[in-house]
């Protein structure tokens, strides 16, 4: 199912700020989750001011694009905003909770506002609050909640009507490391187990990439890259080899030309047309295909070195972006 698709989407504010520029991107739940089922977590990343919040507001039909087209769940939000919003949940970045009512009342009310009949809204509100981890405290006034609890209430009001698409704007804002992990784990579960496609906005790619199946990176309103996380890291994995520091050389160590085992190994691999670099005691070899392992082992054996370590190192997407910029 195509969740969001845009063509040359642009948004220029009255003040002249160009928040989005020629953005064409398609988020398909089958591609995101990599299976036939719906769901999955999409990370929408970019620096502050990259256009993330503007994008979410256009998806919700709250802001008209300056040019270009957008479709959300097969509907045009500029025309059928209400129909889109009935099936989308939105958790804003800012604090948006009234202090003087309880979480149970608030979430029930917004369940009804989203189209749930009264009794259903009440039932789903308490279920949803339980799913986000609020139990007895849901009957207390929100004014007395911690930041973490407030974030959970904000998530619950976006989830209460069982949307097909959930938009989360910086959900970890203001949370301590433990609260951050709990929130991200919850988001991952919503995408994986609830069958809801989640779009999570963050300016901290390193923080959210571990829960994302798919990433859309924005920079200055333009699309930087959109792909599955495993595709982004594919071909980027490396093998780290550590060998004994040339014991065979130790007998004639007096000359000062003590060639390290690592250096020798790297040299031999390069002569066999394997891209290898050595860094101190380790040799790093890009993992091209399974034969790479054989080539390394052959080279180690030919040099009569003792192999201490052979590790596969997985790249983090954040490093790729850091390297690119």
């Amino acid at each position: 199912m195509t969740v969001i698709t845009t063509r040359s989407l642009a948004k220029q504010y009255d003040g002249g700020v160009r928040a989005l520029d020629d953005l064409s991107v398609t988020i398909d739940s089958a591609v995101v989750s990599g299976t036939e089922t719906t769901g999955g977590v999409v990370g929408l990343v970019g620096a502050n001011g990259a256009g993330k919040s503007t994008f979410l507001k256009i998806v919700l039909g709250l802001l008209p694009p300056s040019s270009g087209t957008i479709e959300v769940l097969g509907l045009d939000p500029t025309v059928d905003g209400e129909l889109v919003r009935a099936r989308v949940g939105y958790m804003p970045e800012y604090d948006c909770l009234p202090p003087d009512i309880s979480a149970a009342e608030l979430v029930t009310h917004f369940g009804r506002m989203s189209g749930l009949p009264k009794a259903t809204a009440r039932e789903r509100a308490s279920e949803t609050l339980r799913h986000v981890g609020l139990y007895e405290e849901r009957y207390r006034q929100i004014g007395g909640y911690s930041t973490g609890m407030k974030q959970r209430v904000k998530l619950a009001q976006a989830l209460v009507h069982d949307p097909d698409l959930l938009l989360l704007d910086e959900p970890t804002n203001g949370l301590d490391p433990a609260g951050r992990d709990a929130m991200l784990d919850l988001v991952r579960r919503i995408g994986a187990e609830f069958g809801i496609t989640v779009v999570i906005c963050s300016h901290l790619l390193g923080e959210i990439e571990r829960i994302c199946d798919y990433l859309v990176a924005l920079d200055g309103g333009k699309l930087l890259r959109a792909d599955r996380v495993d595709a982004m890291t594919a071909g980027q994995d490396e093998l780290v080899v550590e060998v004994e520091e040339s014991s065979s050389d130790s007998g004639r160590a007096g000359g000062g030309r003590r060639a390290g085992g690592a250096a020798a190994l790297a040299e031999l691999l390069r002569s066999r047309e394997v891209e290898a670099t050595h860094d101190g005691r380790t040799v790093v070899v890009p993992l091209v295909d399974p034969r790479t392992y054989d080539q390394i082992l052959d080279a180690v054996a030919d040099l009569h070195l003792a192999l201490h370590r052979l590790d596969q190192r997985r790249h983090r997407v954040a490093e790729l972006f850091a390297r690119a910029s």
Binding site: L60, L62, G81, E82, L83, R85, A86, R87, V88, Y90, P92, Y94, D95, C96, L97, P98, P99, D100, I101, E105, H109, F110, R112, M113, S114, G115, L116, P117, T120, R124, E127, R130, H131, Y135, Q157, A158, H161, D162, I190, E193, F194, G195
Partner: protein, 288 residues
């Protein structure tokens, strides 16, 4: 501990009916009426509203008792409504910011706008709910007066008929009052984020023009001048309107006649329409 067991039920998708924009509008409308009466909110929210509602009801009870004892009505239905204008304004000073400023101050408005609802729907549901609440506050006491009048009348069916006509006129004027005063109050409050300031502004808007009206009345002026000046003070203008509509144009406690009746009627309609349009325009712009 049974919560662990419940927790393991897992997430359930919702496959039932999803009611659309009309339902969201009605839900917000009903919520607004309840909020205006302080229902579903703390004791603090109820005290002020219900004190004023209590005073208005008490006046009606006293009026009814006097009429039952003496057979003479102290004031008729429309007059009762006009005399309650100050109390209604005080009530609006509490209610209007609660319905408009609060959602902006707490930014809960952003959550409303993310629902299957348009910005104009939000404004009109809030306005409709507030008008309904103010109308009910006036209509309840009028019905008490009708019940008392009809039960205590010594003129039989014609007495009941008179009481019914008077009550109908009172209800019609209550509706006019509710519409004019509420649209103005909601518009003023919607422009201000801070609740306390919005409350003060609502009262100020109605009070600020009173000296002008007082001055015009003192100066006497030509016939009808006071009516024209009174248009800067909506409650005064409405009292002239009710005299023209329901009391043959004869201003009580004076020899004056209302001469600009039709103009006052147009004035009331224009105020309602303009304030409603401006309120909707405000909510088209207000940042969520």
């Amino acid at each position: 501990m049974t919560t662990g067991v419940i927790h393991d039920l897992g997430y359930r998708r919702y496959t039932g009916p999803r009611l659309g924009r009309g339902y969201a509008f009605r839900t917000l409308y009903a919520h607004t009426v309840r909020t205006a009466f302080g229902l579903g909110r703390g004791v603090k929210a109820k005290i002020f509203s219900w004190t004023i509602i209590g005073i208005i009801a008490a006046v009606a009870v006293v009026m009814t008792a006097i009429k039952a004892q003496t057979g003479e009505a102290v004031m008729d239905g429309p007059q009762f409504v006009d005399n309650m204008a100050t109390l209604v304004i005080l009530l609006l000073a509490a209610v209007a910011p609660e319905l408009t400023s609060r959602d902006q101050q707490t930014r809960v408005l952003g959550l409303y706008l993310a629902r299957p609802l348009r910005r104009s729907d939000y404004a009109l549901a809030r306005l409709g709910g507030a008008v309904t609440a103010i109308f009910l506050v006036l209509a309840g006491p009028l019905l008490i007066m009708f019940a008392g009048g009809a039960l205590s009348t010594k003129d039989g069916a014609s007495g009941v008929g008179d009481a019914a006509v008077d009550t109908a006129q009172g209800l019609a004027h209550a509706a006019t009052h509710a519409l004019v005063l509420t649209t103005i109050s909601l518009l003023v409050a919607a422009l201000i984020r801070r609740r306390a300031i919005a409350a003060a502004a609502v009262v100020a808007v109605f009070l600020i023009a009173l000296p002008a009206v007082g001055l015009a009345q003192e100066l006497g002026g030509s016939e009808g001048t006071t009516e024209l000046v009174s248009m800067v003070s909506p409650p005064t203008a409405l009292s002239y309107l009710s005299v023209w509509l329901y009391a043959d144009g004869k201003v009580p406690y004076s020899d004056d006649q209302v001469v600009h009746g039709p103009l006052l009627l147009v004035y009331a309609v224009v105020v309602i329409a303009a304030c409603t349009a401006l309120l909707v325009a405000r909510y088209r712009k207000v940042p969520a």
